[in-house]
Amino acid sequence: MASILKVDELQGITAAGDITITSEGGAATQSLQQGLAKAWIAFDGTSTIAIKDSSNFTSISDDGTGDYKSNLTSALSNANGSATSGGGHPSGLTNCGESIQVGMLSSSQLSHESGTISANVDFAHVNAAVHGDLA
């Protein structure tokens, strides 16, 4: 019989922030918290930039063409988090060699750069996800 545990909050007993889960294959255990994204964002980088959807991001700023910064609500414990990016769809451009990059500037701020092989370009889809430990 399938069982369901109904709760509002999960905490570890040994350490409140550490709950172990069994792997899909059953051969290993892993920290639940470690595998979760601590922040993600999808924003429109064209015209007046705007956050479309996000978790744990408080704001974005437009620093120029294809050049943005974003700020976390709750910071990571350090600036060594893994930030990954995706996106695209620059208006009116095809076969342009698009690329998008992201990096952690600090424990609470990311830098985003979008463009082509030759120039920065504003993208309609600028996405990022951050993994690491929250402070």
Binding site: K6, A37, A42, D53, H89, P90, I117
Partner: protein
């Protein structure tokens, strides 16, 4: 003393929603796709993949997202000849929908290509 709960599903107190993971989020979709051989090496919450053309594939999601505003991140590379760098982007001719997102693989000069390793994941809310 360490304690262990053996259950199949964890839901909110009402039993109808997700447990709150404060400031944290589980990925709703991931897939590692071989564009060149048209196979998925591994995936989660992917129903099927449509091969539209060279460097052009659509990931069809099993359990839909609540809105088309979700975040897609990813990377691409070739199995060999690593000097010929490949990238993967949201396709310039189709915005994501709640049940699908279309990707475009290309080299850095913008020529459509089929990379062997195209990994993407999706963060956002399920419907």
């Amino acid at each position: 003393m360490t304690s262990v709960l053996n259950v199949d599903t964890i839901a909110d107190k009402a039993g109808t929603g997700p447990v709150g993971l404060t400031k944290q989020s589980a990925a709703k979709v991931y897939v590692r796709r071989d564009f060149n051989n048209n196979v998925s090496d591994s995936s989660f919450n992917i129903a099927s993949v449509t091969d539209n053309a060279l460097g052009d594939q659509t990931m069809n999601i099993s359990s839909a997202m609540s809105a088309a505003t979700y975040s897609i991140v990813g990377m691409a590379s070739r199995k060999a000849n690593s000097l010929n760098y490949h990238v993967v982007m949201v396709h310039d001719s189709a915005d994501p929908t709640t049940t699908a997102y279309r990707l475009r693989g290309s080299d850095v000069a913008g020529n459509d290509k089929d990379p062997e390793f195209v990994s993407t994941s999706v963060d956002g809310d399920l419907a």
